[in-house]
């Protein structure tokens, strides 16, 4: 079959999916960006009033948005570090000879939260953290430890949210690490051991470099995931207490809810740009590392 014809067939098969991507993926994003340049009061009308960059100027002059942006970035750094560290440690444990028959049970235990519906999981976490009847404080009391402020205190709300999100997402990262661990070249580690390398040295200089592909995939995915943290906030804190968990995506939603469509979509566009930039940078970094 001539190359041109082969390519034509390929494009023919790809066309329906490309059309769907454009229709349901790109078009809404473009529309949302378009709304960010209109006056909120007319944003949803057939002939909206165009206001140029006014919505962007307004959000960057809004201290609540700037605080939400900083909070989102800080939370993303913490959540990515916590999730990937936990997932790597857990995957290494599952891959080691230390766990025998229990391996399947632990694999299931860590992956089940991933397939649990978000809302149901976070509602349960909200109850666990409840200050009057929650299991977390009941357990701490039993152990004679001080109570945990959970979602009710601005000092602990972000940590409480991070733990719940870790429970929900870490299983996915564990799975990716496990897939990578399954194809490791064990001979290298054995050679290093014969050469007298300690366990830590073998992990650092032999295992870890070979886990770079899984690390790259997990890093890009986790960054995107946590920059857009939304469901956990809606279900558990609604941005509170006192804005302690008010991230950009939730703040944009609040603005949308109060009919500030122009500013809401401007915030969403800024977040989209950040997600795109960070994800591309992480991806490029990973590609360069592989080369």
């Amino acid at each position: 079959m001539p190359a041109m014809r082969r390519e034509g067939v390929f494009y023919l098969f790809a066309l329906p999916f490309a059309a769907l991507t454009i229709l349901f993926g790109l078009w809404p994003i473009l529309l949302s960006i378009q709304v960010s340049f209109t006056d909120s009061a007319t944003a949803l009308q057939p002939a909206p009033a165009w206001v140029g960059l006014a919505n962007y100027r307004a959000i960057f002059a809004d201290p609540v948005f700037l605080a939400a942006l900083v909070r989102t970035l800080a939370y993303t750094v913490l959540a990515v570090a916590a999730n990937l560290s936990f997932a790597l440690a857990f995957a290494l444990l599952l891959d080691s000879a230390l766990i025998g028959r229990g391996r399947l049970f632990f694999k299931l235990a860590v992956f089940l939260p991933v397939v649990t519906p978000d809302v149901a999981g976070y509602v349960v976490w909200r109850w666990l953290y409840d200050q009057s009847f929650g299991a977390v404080n009941a357990a701490l009391r039993l152990l004679g430890l001080p109570a945990f402020g959970g979602l009710a205190s601005p000092r602990t709300a972000m940590l409480a949210l991070l733990i719940a999100e870790l429970w929900h997402h870490a299983g996915f990262y564990v799975l990716i690490f496990l897939a990578n661990l399954a194809i490791l070249d064990r001979a290298q580690a054995e050679a290093a051991q014969i050469d007298g390398a300690t366990a830590l040295q073998r992990f650092r200089h032999v295992t870890l470099p070979q886990l770079r592909p899984a690390m790259a995939v997990n890093l890009v995915y986790a960054v995107i995931q946590f920059l857009k943290t939304f469901t956990a906030v809606v279900v558990m804190t609604k941005g509170g207490p006192a804005d302690a968990t008010n991230f950009v995506s939730f703040y944009a939603y609040q603005q949308f809810d109060s009919a500030q469509y122009g500013q809401a979509t401007a915030m969403a566009t800024v977040l989209f740009a950040i997600v795109l930039l960070v994800a591309l940078t992480a991806y490029r970094g990973a590609e360069r590392g592989r080369a």
Binding site: A41, A43, L44, Q45, P46, V64, Y129, D130, Q131, S132, F133, G150, L151, A152, S153, P154, M236, T237, K238, G239, G240, P241, A242, D243, A244, Q254, D257, S258, A259
Partner: protein
């Protein structure tokens, strides 16, 4: 023969045309009860309008906004919209396609039962955007069995209410252990949640505004307003009379606390009564006006708004939609509204089938006081309210050492913000 048959078929088609079925779509957010009520009214309406049926569709409130605004702007509007006045304002602002209902009201011969307040609340930007169909009353509720167990009485003053809340918490009336039940059920998470609670205590105490007066002057540091604000904030914080997680509560969580039997005092909307008479609370509650704060002010039950029907200018069957809107003020529709939804606007309805508590709302003998609806006259009010909410949440999360100083500081900040907003939005 064929020609005759063909002619007969044409004649039959032409004769059938005038009674061709017509369907009026009405979008609301009242859930199953609302759909039941509108179906019942629709069946009644069809008696005088053969072939006309009503198709009520209930959406969650958030979706109702988006769908209504989108449909009106794209000329795919339903025939009628039914919702709270302030929500219809938003649709009107975003579309400019809500009809003026004054001619429809004028054509109703006996509409004298609508008060001036009702009509004022239905009017926005010089237009009557809804025909007022249901008054929304919100009273103060107390769990009856807890009162009996603690030997208390329905609180008349705020001090009574506070003492009672402390007695409930100390007395463990449910026998579930101390620290599991609370004096009050409140909400705080979203701007409307917290300010709505403040509205109820403020208006219930006989004051006329919560944050600003109709001229946009900030009132929160006026002595009586400051007292109510301070007490409400302390109830969330220092007094520890609400569940500690209340700062994150919205309507759903507040209802879980009420219906889960974890609170002694709570808001009772007229729409709650039918359900709470039979399910959840099972009639174990008393209702009355909000607590009195000041000897010189009459405490009251709060009229928190008006639900009504709006007709889009691009409604597919506009004349028929207008007729149905008017029909909702007739006695059969109002009677059904009272029975199913717990509220109406006509005073001449049969009260026989209502529970005692439903009758208290239907024929109120208590003092009533209506919200001032600043959002209907001050276009920047929602932004101000969001900033005010944020400030109050900070005070709940970290209670200020000096509440008076906090209120003065907040008032100063709100005044500065009003100036900014007025300059920006007029």
């Amino acid at each position: 023969m064929f020609k005759r048959l063909f002619g007969a078929a044409i004649a039959a088609t032409l004769l059938a045309a005038p009674v061709q079925a017509q369907q009026l779509a009405i979008w609301h957010d009242l859930g199953d009860n609302g759909t039941k009520w509108l179906n019942e009214v629709g069946a009644e309406f069809a008696k005088d309008h053969p072939g006309v049926s009503i198709r009520p569709i209930s959406y969650p409130t958030d979706q109702w906004f988006g769908r209504a605004i989108g449909a009106l702007n794209t000329n795919t509007a339903p025939d009628l919209l039914f919702n709270n006045y302030e929500r219809v304002i938003r649709v009107a602002t975003q579309t400019g396609k809500i009809s003026d209902m004054r001619p429809v009201l004028a054509a109703i011969p006996d509409h004298g039962f609508l008060t001036e307040d009702d009509l004022r609340v239905a009017t926005f930007d010089g237009k009557m955007i809804i025909l007022p169909v249901q008054r929304v009353q919100m009273a103060f509720g107390v769990r009856k069995s807890w009162l009996e167990k603690t030997g208390g009485q329905f609180p008349q003053t705020w001090d009574d209410a506070r003492r009672l809340a402390e007695a409930f918490q100390a007395g463990d009336p449910e026998g579930t252990g101390k620290g599991t039940v609370f004096g009050f059920a409140l909400e705080a998470a979203k701007p409307r949640d917290l300010v709505h609670m403040l509205d109820l205590f403020t208006f219930g105490a006989g004051l006329r505004h919560t944050l600003v007066d109709p001229d946009g002057n900030v009132v929160i540091d006026e002595p009586q307003h400051a007292r109510v604000l301070a007490e409400v904030l302390k109830t969330y914080g220092a007094y520890k009379l609400v569940p500690p997680d209340t700062i994150n509560y919205s309507f759903n969580e507040m209802y879980q606390v009420i219906e889960g039997g974890r609170t002694g005092m709570f808001r009772v909307g007229d729409w709650n009564v039918a359900k709470w008479d039979s399910q959840a609370i099972k009639g174990d509650f008393l209702v009355g006006p909000w607590p009195r704060f000041f000897p010189d002010k009459q405490n009251a039950v709060v009229i928190g708004g008006m639900r009504g029907v709006a007709v889009p200018v691009n409604a597919p069957n506009k004349p028929l939609a207008d007729a149905f809107a008017a029909f909702l003020l007739g006695k059969p529709a109002q009677q059904a509204s009272l029975r199913i939804m717990g509220s109406a606007v006509r005073p001449d309805l049969d009260m026989a089938g209502l529970s005692e508590r439903q009758r208290m709302f239907a024929q109120p003998k208590w003092a009533l006081i209506a919200y001032d609806f600043p959002e209907s006259t001050l276009p920047w009010y929602p932004e101000l309210e969001a900033a005010f909410h944020r400030k109050l949440l900070t005070a709940i999360a970290t209670p200020p050492a000096d509440m008076d100083a906090f209120i003065k500081e907040t008032a100063a900040e709100m005044r500065a913000l009003v100036k900014q907003l007025q300059a920006r939005k007029g």
